[in-house]
């Protein structure tokens, strides 16, 4: 099969171009349904790209049916077959997400992550984006704090559990 001319057919390249362009265009949308359709189109385009990369058209890669020199490349076909079925799984998953989003919010649009925005806002002000009591400066050094700790050497301390009235 590698004896074949590997130059791709122009029409296939065009198909790849159209599918990828429309796919990416839809992928950048906010509606999950459109994103999904975009992904399917993009996936089809990429599958064609793989097909083209394997060489030019030939006969089915089945021994006894096609002579070896005329066979199309079976490796890319196995890869594409896997990709097609995976796309089905992905389609179902994204649809389930779209449905869930519709159940919860009444639409299937991908909103910006509020948490990310909050973090960005706080980062711009150089404020911590999370509460960490341990990071708050207590005004004394860790040495001083260590000096006030007591081990649970008698029963009162172990019942108290805070080791000398220290805050938790």
């Amino acid at each position: 099969m590698h004896a074949l001319d590997t130059t791709p057919a122009v029409v296939l390249v065009l198909a790849i171009g159209v599918l990828v362009t429309t796919g990416v265009y839809l992928l950048l949308e906010r509606s999950l349904t459109r994103v999904l359709i975009g992904f399917i189109l993009l996936g089809n385009g990429v599958n064609l790209l793989l097909l083209v990369a394997g060489g030019r058209a030939g006969g089915a890669p089945i021994l006894g049916t096609t002579p070896l020199w005329h066979m199309s490349d079976p490796l890319v076909q196995a890869m594409i077959l896997t990709a097609i079925v995976i796309t089905l799984g992905l389609t179902a998953f994204v649809l389930a997400m779209a449905y869930r989003s519709w159940q919860l919010h009444g639409h299937d649009e991908v909103q910006d992550d509020v948490e990310d925005r909050r973090i960005a806002r706080l980062a711009a002000k150089n404020e911590p984006s999370f509460e960490d009591a341990d990071a708050v400066e207590s005004g004394e050094t860790l040495d001083d704090e260590a000096a006030r700790t007591r081990d649970e050497t008698d029963d009162e301390i172990s019942k108290d559990r805070t080791g000398g009235g220290e805050e938790r």
Partner: protein
Amino acid sequence: MLQLLVAHLLMVLLAPAIISWLGRRGFLVLALAPASAAVYALACTSRVMHGDVPVQHWQWIPQLGLTLTFRLDTLSWLMLLLVGGVGALVLVYCSAYFAPSAHGLRRFGATLVGFAGSMVGLVTADDMLLLFVFWELTTVASYLLIGHYAERKASRRAAMQAIIITTAGGLAMLVGVVILGEAAGTYSLSQVVAHPPSGTAVTAAVVCLLAGAATKSALIPLHFWLPAAMAAPTPVSAYLHAAAMVKAGVYLVARFAPAYAHLAVWQTIVIVLGCGTLLLGGYRALRQQDLKLVLAFGTVSQLGLITLLVGLGSRATALAGIAMLGAHAMFKASLFLVTGVVDAATGTRDLRRLTGVGRKMPVTALAGGLATASMIGLPPFAGYVAKEAGLEALLHPAGIVPGWVDGLVLAAVVVGSMLTVAYGLRFFWGAFATKNLGAGAGTEALPDADGTPAQPPIDPSTLHIQSPFLTVPPLVLAMLGLAAALVPHLGTELLEPYAETLPVGERGHLALWGGFGPALGLTVLILGVGVLAWWRRVRVEGFQARVGAWYLRHHLPEADVVYRRSMRRLDDAAADVTSFTQRGSLPFYLGVIVIVMAAFPGVVLVTHTTWPQDLRGWDTPAQAVAVAAIGVAAVLAARSRRRLKAVFLAGIAGYGNAVLFMLHGAPDLALTQVLVETVTLVVMVLVLRRLPPYFSNRPLARSRWTRLAIGLVAGVTVMAFAVVAPNARMATPVSAQFPDEAYSYGGGKNIVNVTLVDIRAWDTMGEISVLLVAATGVASLVFLRRRGGAILRAEDSERARVGDEAPGVWSGGTDEDDRGAALRRRGTAPEAWNRMQVWLRASATLAPRRRSVIFEVVARLLFHSMIVYAAFLLFSGHNNPGGGFAAGLVVGIALVVRYLAGGRYELGEAAPVQPGVLLGTGLFLSVGVGLAAMLAGGEVLQSTIFDLHVPLVGEVHLVTSLFFDIGVFLVVVGLVLDILRSLGAEIDRHADLELRAVREDD
């Protein structure tokens, strides 16, 4: 030595049970583990002394060159003895130290023994990577033990600070180890030291190693984690932060000193850090009011001294250094344990409150006194012998560094020793002396600098007798310090073999009496000034307070403040990076990915490629037709505002792809694409019927052109790939061998199918795992609380139970305007169902107006034919187009037909099985075949071919990969069933419930 590690590991695993069973006395059992290490070391003493070094060697991961190699030379012997001996005594001490009701003792015991085991590994490992593993294990154990009282903020913060600093050093050390190991061609510690590689990279590696050692041994400027680590329980301070773990850094310096002490960078680091730490620690110890902090800063100081001595690189200093290492472990562990006894008895470690303790607790005071004497270097104690040897060695320098540097080092050691005397006395006086602490009697009772009023002194008469388990371990350690010093020539003989490994300098020796000379003079001077500094402590404290205030006034940096500030900066920087990269916008992320794809590989493509000279229009004219259809459908799909329209147009593009596959010579692909496209269309329609018919109107006009531009850039880039890639091959395709392999090993003629189930079976295994995950995800998104609902059977339906009045499935409206309803009611009585008077069993569960008899008949007739066809595809797929994927999809479509004709109860009738079972069985079958091949002696997933002669049927050609394909088939069927049950049946149920709610509201 591996046996020791195993013993420790077992003890770790048993520790929780032992302590549950025996309570705190269980620590006595735990003590057996480190005790065994000490006994082993003692048993090996004469071998080690005579140079017959015990070595053990096992392969661990030969591919990575990792070995379990252990070696017990003099240095390891000394460390093992200390780790084991002090560890056993500390564990004995724990058995009485903690209150019986203390919390977390099981975890504490296990961690402490685990630490002892890690330390045993660290000091005996001869493989540098193995050493690193144990090194990090001790870091983790230290973290857990410092943070033992996890509910206290001080403990958590101290633990976090310690692990961050020591791990940072550990990582630097790992870099050093790898550079060194690669340069030397071996990771064996003894071989690297015996034949040290050299060069710039190796010098950098040595600096990295020293960084690791400096953090572990709390040298400046990262010394502050050690005093903060005093938040740990006192036995931990005694063991980890005085005797054992902090010595790991010193151990590392001692290990590499024979090889690299001559490097200028080594000398600089060791001398600057050693002297600086020695002086700073001693100075800071003098102003502490807490006994543990006095000892902690004292430890910092002594670690500086020991690092200095072992790092200087002459035989005499090395001997003094490791003698000091041993002496320090004994006296400092003893002093910490003594502090613990005082703390437990009086309830405080504040030396402004302690008074009269010595009189009430003479045994503890004796232990404290002996250990203090060793620490400040009084004869005849180990500390004295070691310090004397050190002074002697420094007075006769080996000439590695210029004379003035030697002078400075000597001066630093002398001043540091004076400080040691002063804080040693301060400790002993603070813990045991009877003081006059009445109101206004002295500075000791004055309020703290920050204004908190001083608490009243303790009342010595309330002290009670302490358990011998508490008082004996420190006394034993202190007495050992005395005993070891009484036989100095034995010490010399034992430790000499290590000092001999250093290349330069005269031989040193340990002695109780070195004769009149400058060393003796210095000792007298040290003691005199030290005692004076202690005697005038009020003035010294005043001086330190003034220096501290001056320091604050000028905003000079303190190490721990700088550390915390830089951690905060790090947090800020992390937040900035996060806010820059995590915009929270999906289109932004995807756009960035696409642009990067176009920018980097795309630009390389344009600049570094030769374009093909001649292009072919098409392989066959039919391609052009298909491509035209695809192009029109894709563009219209992108422009469509109606959901369903977009979906159908995308479907047309998909079928167009199938045509292209067919024309390209890929019948398997064409078949699969058609089937998948069909299932996709149905699934899309099932979900989209619930969503609004139009995409929501958004003011996207502005960004539309941007998106179109990005799309075009991506499209053009990928087209360029498509033109260039096929001719850019540089090697023979792997698939060139596939036809041969497929037939001879895979036993099949359909090369694509054999590729999937045999040649590239691992990939397929990964793929069906993904399908399983996707199916599970779909089900969980729709069912929410369960993996999948109950299997719906016709007789469970509401119409079966209630009768015609029940609305039925898909009762989207009322029946009133439905004139054909009466006709469709035939056969809907439940009793008719079992008499096979209906085409589909569950069709009666539908709302009458939703029934279509023609569809029911077609479904009934088609279903079994499709199943048979699927079986044909499955079994013939090895030699003809077909296989598990296609067969599974055909069964899926058969189920779709039944569901569409008869509703959700019909789906349950058609496939009365949980999809999870199908998915699980399928994956198990595929994996099982692979493992079976392994059991049969082949490789995983290897195929076996059986040629059988079956009567009547004739020759049967059975390939085991058929079972793999059946697994694939089951997974695909499970996926489609899961989709139908979730996105079909369950969404139906939601809709029906909603409708009912609406009706009831009316």
